[in-house]
Chain length 220, copies 2
């Protein structure tokens, strides 16, 4: 499939240029940009909801919701009084920096501390596309099974932090959190691992605190 | 992103031609070809393991395992004494008919009743690529959440049967099986819905029976 590879390279060069533009705008506005990546149903939206509850009005967030067709997640976010814009990729399995570049002028960046980009539920392609974020967060949820780190290493190695979500289900699913944490640290030693449960609240405060301690001015 | 679209069409035309060749070979050998599609961790491999246990030596299966990089699933299948070939897509998020075409000569089709193709864990791209199968099976597992049908309608509407897997977890996860079944039937009225749990064995026999009753000679 050489055609596929050639095209991917061309798209990626274009994408990198747009991503640099996005990052420059975020830097100028003092906004921390975060790219959340995981399987469908790993709990990205639910984690965001728990974070908004934790922060209350202390941290001004806005969200760009990526989805193939619907606006289900954006409607959930909007209920928390957080600014949200839906991007429908119309069949494409990942977001691109072009999409972000087009959307930025519509966001009230001057009133924003943190911009969350919730990527399409997919463990493969999102790992290859810089969206202009400062930090990439990869989630693995306990029901997906521990083998996902080994099967999709790129996503968990390009990330700046890895999150094991739905920790409350670990026991019933016999998901060995300690072993997966060790595996994530071996694959990506510099990325901290957070163990969270949006249901019980476990780990949400720690993750929120780490995010705000990250210096967005450093390279991504 | 017009480039993406143009390329996808070109790739798809090529793919359709290879898929027809694959299907012709399967027809000639009297082999039923099945394409299994779902999110990562929805339980495709575990369902296959339950089916092999159910069939014993009555049905001669072989498996083509798609994975981005590893051979974890192929090793699981091999333990059941079933012929298995691993295809690594090296970063690509779906399998193509070209991959199948190259692999067919390596399979002992003369000793095979059913060929399972376990696609890459992804709810988006696999829905667009005919692999030369006779029947497409889409899985949604209870931990992914009921909204996946609405969010990824294409996968569940191009399928010939839809499977709700990990049914044993439905209660603890508050996953409404009846409501999702209704939604699947509305989206794709001709496809039967099977509710399965590889853990308890629920629904495995019914799904196996339906598969063998399908006439592979009809168009896909």
């Amino acid at each position: 499939m050489p055609v596929d590879i050639v095209v991917m390279k061309a798209v990626n060069a274009e994408n990198a240029a747009r991503a640099a533009e996005v990052r420059a705008v975020l830097n100028q506005s003092g906004v921390l940009g975060l790219n959340l990546m995981s399987s469908p149903g790993s709990g990205k939206t639910t984690l965001l909801e728990a974070m908004f509850k934790h922060w209350g009005e202390d941290v001004r967030s806005c969200v760009v919701e990526g989805d193939v067709f619907t606006s289900i997640d954006a409607e959930r976010i909007a209920k928390h009084g957080v600014e949200v814009i839906q991007v429908n990729t119309e069949g494409s399995c990942h977001m691109t920096a072009h999409m972000l570049k087009e959307i930025l002028p519509r966001l009230a960046l001057e009133n924003t501390d943190v911009l969350f980009i919730e990527n399409i539920g997919n463990l493969i392609c999102p790992a290859s596309f810089d969206l202009g974020e400062h930090r990439r967060i990869a989630l693995i949820s306990t029901p997906e099974g521990a083998d996902k780190v080994e099967k999709y290493p790129k996503l968990f190695s390009v990330s700046h932090a890895n999150v094991i979500s739905k920790a409350d289900l670990a026991d019933v699913l016999e998901f060995d959190i300690a072993a997966v944490t060790k595996q994530l640290k071996k694959l990506n030693p510099e990325a901290p691992v957070f163990v969270t449960s949006a249901k019980t609240g476990e780990g949400v405060a720690e993750f929120c605190e780490w995010l705000l301690s990250e210096n967005k001015e450093t390279d991504n």
